[in-house]
Amino acid sequence: MGIGKYERRKRGYSLEKQKAKMGVLMLLPSLIIISFIILYPLISSFVFAFMKKPLGSMSNDKFIGLKNFAYIFIQPLFWKSLLNSTILTFATVVLQTIFGMIIALLLNTSFKARGVIRGLFILPWATPAFVAAFAWSWMVDSQNGMINILLKQFHLVKEGIPWLMQTNTALFIVILAHIWKDIPWVIMIFLSGLQMVPVESREAAKVDGANIWKEFWYITIPSMKSIIVIAILLRVIWTFKYFDLVKLLTGGGPLNSTMTIPIMIYQQAFESNSLGRASALGVILFVILGVFSFFYFKVLSKDGEA
């Protein structure tokens, strides 16, 4: 006698269960590592934010409630850092989006050596942050920097400008360096998005007499809407918490003119030796970025449904 339908279903289900168990077992090491590297520090940060916790001290830690937050909110430096972070993020993301789109559109056309040119555009993204910061600080050097030499050559300035040493120009250079460093990612995302624009719609638009701008505005942009929104949201999240370039270029100076929230977190932890306050700042940053992450996931799920 053969195996009944019920038996066959039961055996199939057991096999599925077995496979699932095996899968979980394979994933376990990764999950453990992720827990240690991400979850444990995250939960610790939240706990430390409510404690008096000096770095490196052998003394006992103390629960102090919201005192760390209260202290931070009354510091003028916190509001200055928040403002600088906002300006840096807004300017960087807007300019990366605009120029990223322009470059992506250009790279999407057919021309000789397109592959090589596309590859060259990836270079800034592949450059380590230290190297990028070193290169930029030399490019803007007041005596020997390429930018000042060119400005003097074209008689636009008489003497070299100490870009990174002036409070009114340092943030501008930091923004430029950020744009240069991460625009390749934006270009790549938009390039892949451009492949999704229906060819028929573009051809139909051309037949109807639409010019380049109208085609871009009424066909390309709507087709790429979700990709653009996702790219912007991700860039906002990543730029807001960017630490490397600012630390390496200016360290938050001169006179706190480039102080950002991540730099302030570092200073609180390792210069003021206050893990508690650094963690409180980390929680504030987490909340700010959490808002953008919420919108990101919302857009992502809408996109998935579509």
Binding site: M26, S30, I33, F36, G56, Q143, F270, S274
Partner: protein, 447 residues
């Protein structure tokens, strides 16, 4: 077959991940602590002492290695492992190491960190060694500034007063006298700059964390961020006077040099671009290696007010071993280093311009007769004298609980940026410094 292969591959990958997970875990090697106080177990037990070093200079490395090798010959059971830690990162790294309970046994202890680290109970008191070596052999100010709670936490090795290096040849050319006042110093600088093409009167050390020129001039003008009673005096008339002078000096510095690191400014100076270079006496090492001793002389930073001298930095060995055998072995190493003959050899071979802190060397004619030291004898003796009333940045009247925060807040750099970069008035810069100082104190008090 394919399924089996995939399963095997998955198992191998999972095992590799597990190994990676545990590979980061390690326990600090070291024997168990001896429970008996004053135990001699360190003499026979296999011990590895971890030493955190900041100084990459060949002279220092060679001189200290010779001391370590001599010690390990006497105690073959002890190994000394040197780990290089970048100068700017030492505080951060040490704090993190203490939090992770993986601090070294001993380290290059810089003057500015000793008291903060000791206050955090991260260092071992060294009174017993200092008593064994003889406290009178060390400058009292160094012992005081590295003590807290009645205990000492550093055995000084060397100190480096800041002096004015000046171009002897240009002074002779224009018949200039060694200045004893600020006005005379400025006039000499201006005379040389006005008459020598391509040579500027001064340079300024003002890189982030290296605002030494301002600190020097404030100190010799009896200006300070805090007074003896820890009251804010950052906006005193003397501070304004110092900032005014610095602002005047900045009109005589080579363009584009403001904010450059000490190493870069030294390079600019040794290339002959400036007439006066105010720096640690260790600049003599650069003079020696460039064979320019005939061009440079030194004099103390002219005193304008008060009795406090210019910066006199110092360093030594600080001990952070928690294991009692390692602690005892480290203390014996330091005692070994301070034996007169061992210390003399070390001082003669170590960094030129670092004045030995232990008087058994400087009171010994053999030190001054050494072929490396002899050409600089006058320079070093003048610096040694100048350093007697010297201060450490952030510790104008001795170490206090705000010292470390003062250094890490870059408050001096802010003042310099305001008067030199932004061309603001010295009064505004001093006022801003006072506000920032209050904020720093508030920050430290509320931690």
């Amino acid at each position: 077959m394919e399924k089996t292969f995939k399963k095997m591959l998955s198992l191998i990958l999972a095992a590799l991940m597990l190994m990676a997970l545990f590979s980061g875990c390690s326990s600090k090697s070291g024997s168990e602590s001896s429970q008996v106080k004053g135990s001699d177990a360190w003499k026979t037990k296999d011990i590895t002492l971890q030493f955190w070093d900041n100084d990459t200079r060949a002279d220092w490395q060679t001189a200290t290695q010779k001391v370590f090798d001599g010690f390990t010959v006497l105690h073959p059971n002890i190994k000394i492992q040197r780990m290089m830690v970048p100068w700017n990162d030492i505080n951060t790294k040490f704090q993190v190491a203490v939090a992770a309970k993986s601090q070294p046994d001993f380290m290059y202890g810089s003057d500015k960190y000793i008291v903060p680290w000791a206050t955090q109970k991260s260092l071992a008191p060294l009174d017993d060694i200092l008593d064994a070596i003889g406290r009178k052999n060390f400058p009292q100010s160094m012992l005081t500034n590295s003590s807290t709670g009645g205990k000492s936490y550093l055995v000084p090795i060397a100190f480096f007063p800041h002096v004015v290096f000046y171009r002897k040849d240009l002074y002779a050319k224009y018949s200039l006298k060694v200045p004893t006042t600020w006005d005379q110093l400025y006039q000499n600088a201006k005379t040389i700059q006005d008459n020598e093409k391509g040579i500027y009167g001064f340079d300024i050390l003002a890189a982030k964390g290296e605002p030494y020129t301002l600190v020097n001039f404030m100190s010799v003008d009896n200006a300070a961020l805090l007074d003896k009673n820890l009251k804010v005096t950052a906006n005193s008339p003397n501070t304004v006077e110092s900032l005014t002078y610095i602002q005047k000096m900045s009109t005589l510095i080579p363009p584009g040099t403001y904010g450059k690191t000490q190493a870069d400014v030294r390079l600019i100076a040794i290339q002959g671009t400036v007439a006066h270079h105010i720096d640690s006496v260790s600049f003599s090492g650069t003079i020696s290696s460039e064979k320019k001793l005939d061009l440079w002389g030194t004099f103390p930073v002219p005193q304008n007010s008060g009795t406090r001298g210019a910066i006199t930095g110092y360093y030594g060995f600080a001990v952070s071993a928690t294991n009692s055998d390692n602690l005892q072995a480290t203390k014996e190493l330091i005692k070994h280093m301070n034996q007169p003959d061992v210390y003399l050899g070390f001082a003669q071979a170590s960094i030129l311009g670092h004045i030995p802190a232990n008087k058994t060397a400087t009171d010994n004619n053999a030190y001054w007769a050494n072929s490396r030291v002899a050409p600089f004898e006058n320079m070093f003796k003048s610096a040694e004298k100048a350093g007697q009333n010297g201060i450490v940045m952030g510790m104008d009247y001795g170490a206090n609980k705000y010292s470390s925060a003062i250094v890490s807040s870059y408050i001096y750099n802010d003042m310099l940026d305001m008067v030199i970069l932004n061309k603001q008035t010295p009064q505004d810069a001093a006022k801003s410094a006072a506000t920032k100082m209050k904020s720093i104190m508030d920050d430290v008090d509320n931690q």
